[in-house]
């Protein structure tokens, strides 16, 4: 295969779009990490549940795609908050305050991830379902050099930017956002300042799970939706969060884009069947040589 500049450009464009979706999931993981000091191993399942909620809303209830997106985000946020309230909160209390003994939380999240996947079989079945969405009102983009970008990719880019701007506005310019940042910074002092810390933690969890659900609904029309999809997404989102520096929100998006490009280029120029390994490879390389991430500040070691 000769070197073709146009196809390289196409791979990069698709890599960026997929990467933004990884970035959205990574954003949630980073949010939970900075807010609760835990690494949420069941976040891929929130993404999967979000995709299925969106699918059920769009196909069975018959609402238009944007409504399905918002509905799925709300439903998944409620699910996430319930899981946090019933299971994780108990564990965080056992550790004293809201900091957690690392191993217990990791094992708990791991078990929760497996339990959620298999609970999903009950409701959604084992078949991969195509997500049919009517996206004709979105223009197709054509880049120079005859690169056609499908509607779903354009939509993904638009909605991702909207979500990120919304999150940034919420965290930086509203009073509740300030409270969330205070909780992430120091829970004890936030308590003393009269912030309702448990409520804020629920809010953080809900936000993070809502973001994961948005990613699930966005990726639905590009790939099909199935129960086992959460696990690989979790690994890639972790890779994105680590590459961007764990706990850093802009880093999560940049990391996601890097993972997306890396993966697409690897699949195109090295070997397509090893596609899913490249993200791990990047993850391990970054962890070993620059644990604080490529864009991150000094890594907070919390375990």
């Amino acid at each position: 295969m000769g070197f073709d500049f146009n196809s390289l450009l196409a791979f990069i464009i698709f890599g960026v779009t997929i990467g933004v979706v990884y970035g959205i999931v990574a954003l949630g993981i980073s949010l939970i990490y900075s807010g609760l000091d835990i690494v949420h191993f069941a976040h891929g399942e929130m993404y999967m549940f979000g995709a299925f909620f969106g699918l059920v809303l769009a196909h069975n209830v018959g609402v238009p795609y944007p409504v399905a997106l918002i509905g799925a985000m709300i439903l998944t946020a409620i699910l996430g908050m319930a899981v946090e309230r019933v299971f994780y909160r108990r564990l965080t209390r056992a550790g004293g305050g809201y900091t957690v003994a690392g191993m217990g939380m990791i094992i708990c999240g791991f078990g929760m991830s497996v339990a959620l996947v298999n609970a999903a079989y009950f409701f959604f079945g084992a078949e991969a379902e195509p997500f049919r969405a009517n996206l004709d009102y979105i223009p197709r983009l054509t880049f120079p050099g005859d690169i056609n970008v499908p509607e779903s990719y354009v939509l993904t880019a638009i909605i991702s930017v909207l979500l990120m701007t919304g999150l940034h506005y919420f965290l930086r310019h509203t009073k509740t956002g300030l409270a969330v940042r205070a909780v992430a910074h120091n829970k004890d002092i936030a308590y003393l300042m009269g912030i309702n810390v448990p409520l804020m933690i629920s809010l953080i969890f809900g936000l993070a799970c809502g973001l994961a659900a948005a990613a699930g609904v966005l990726i639905g029309p590009m790939q099909s939706v199935q129960v086992e999809m959460g696990y690989l997404m979790l690994m890639k989102a972790f890779a994105a969060a680590v590459v961007g520096g764990f706990g850093s929100l802009p880093g999560a998006i940049l990391g996601g884009i890097m993972v997306g490009i890396f993966e697409n280029l690897g699949a195109a120029y090295i070997s397509a069947s090893h596609k899913d390994i490249y993200a791990f490879l990047l993850l391990i390389l970054v962890l070993m040589f620059r644990p604080s991430g490529l864009f991150g500040v000094e890594a907070k070691v919390k375990a």
Binding site: I106, A115, N118, L287
Partner: protein, 361 residues
């Protein structure tokens, strides 16, 4: 309780004669197990016992790095896979089925090589632990473990989707370990020796260094413990256990290996064993391995019909029980066990002080 402490008394009495005496008696008691099983129950139980022994090896090995040294690793099943595939590929005849690699080495050569290769892989898995802690380390090891499985799944030379078949069984002279019963002696011996060495490690200076690192890494380094060396050593030791278990698994009677044996579910099963037994407790790990292997086997085909869909509920049950165990029984069976034994030791010491009246008064 009383029964347990009687047994403990007996073991103490035996151990005072010779250190290895209780182990020898345990070995002798385990020897007739396959015959009891095949006479009174059915011979399928022997296969179950074999798999329990392999999982005992794995769980005890995982305990060294996780329980003794306090490093969170969730990629252990990847090491198991490396051990299994290396030994299988080395011992297969060249030009095997479906483009699988083969070197045709004798089994007794391929198993030690597989263990060495796995030990080296353990060193690589352990390298991130030098710089990373807690959740970061869990991520790195999860990534490594899963990439091993995906690599096996997409590489035809290592069996890819068809798996490796006709893996030869080990033999001594003309005696071939190709039945469940004969293989039982191989894996049972390995498991018992593995448990014994695990205790030896725990009691040695190395074991104390591991525990010091677990409790406080900085304090350990101040006390002159080479933290990097001992962390890597813990990973290598546990990798040796995993490699041996994997190699023995590869040559087990059906002689068939598929990458589905190394999925996340297996990792959850393995973690559940260690968590159920109590992290850091050797006997707890052994009990956990036996209980979970039996539970795994019994619930494997349990299917619930929900809206006309057959659903395998085993992973759901395993995942949830792991969550609930961490929440409500964080010290596991081993923790309870240890509490009883500590009580007993306490009573004994008070008896010695008070001249044997403490129990009755």
């Amino acid at each position: 309780m009383v029964f347990l402490s009687r047994i403990a008394d007996l073991i103490d009495a035996l151990a005072s004669r010779h250190r290895l005496l209780p182990w020898l008696i345990a070995y002798l008691m385990l020897l007739p197990l396959p015959f009891i099983m095949s006479t009174f129950f059915n011979s399928y139980l022997i296969d179950l016992a074999n798999r329990s022994c392999l999982f005992i090896l794995l769980a005890v090995g995982l305990n060294i790095v996780k329980g003794f040294c306090g490093q969170v690793t969730v990629g252990h099943i990847g090491l198991y896979a490396i051990g299994a595939v290396t030994s299988a590929v080395l011992s297969l005849e060249p030009g095997g089925f479906g483009g699988a690699l083969g070197f045709g080495l004798p089994v007794w050569v391929s198993i030690p090589i597989a263990v060495l290769v796995t030990a080296f892989a353990g060193l690589i898995v352990g390298l991130p632990s030098v710089r990373l802690e807690g959740a970061y380390l869990a991520l790195a090891t999860l990534g490594l473990g899963e990439s091993v499985r995906i690599f096996i799944a997409v590489t035809p030379a290592l069996g890819s989707s068809t798996g490796l078949m006709m893996i030869p069984a080990p033999s001594i002279g003309s005696f071939v370990f190709d039945s469940f019963t004969s293989y039982y002696y191989l894996v049972m011996t390995a498991a018992l020796v593995g448990i014994y060495f695990s205790f030896s490690i725990l009691r040695s200076a190395t074991g104390r260094a591991f525990q010091a690192i677990r409790e406080d890494t900085i304090a350990a380094s101040v006390n002159g413990i080479n933290v990097i060396k001992y962390k890597l050593l813990a990973f290598v030791l546990s990798a040796i256990y995993a490699g041996l278990a994997g190699a023995l698994f590869a040559h087990m009677p059906p002689g068939y290996l598929h990458h589905n044996n190394f999925t996340v579910i297996e990792m959850v099963t393995l973690l559940l064993m260690v968590v159920l037994g109590g992290i850091g407790n050797v006997w707890g790990g052994v009990i956990g391995a036996i209980v979970v292997t039996i539970a795994y086997d019994q619930t494997k085909d349990l299917v619930v019909y929900f809206m006309d869909r057959p659903i395998v509920i085993q992973p759901l049950v395993f995942g949830l029980s792991m969550v609930l165990l961490v929440l409500f029984m964080p010290r596991g069976i081993g923790g309870w066990f240890e509490g009883v034994l500590r009580n007993r030791r306490f009573i004994k010491r008070s008896e010695e002080k008070l001249g044997g009246t403490a129990r009755n008064s």
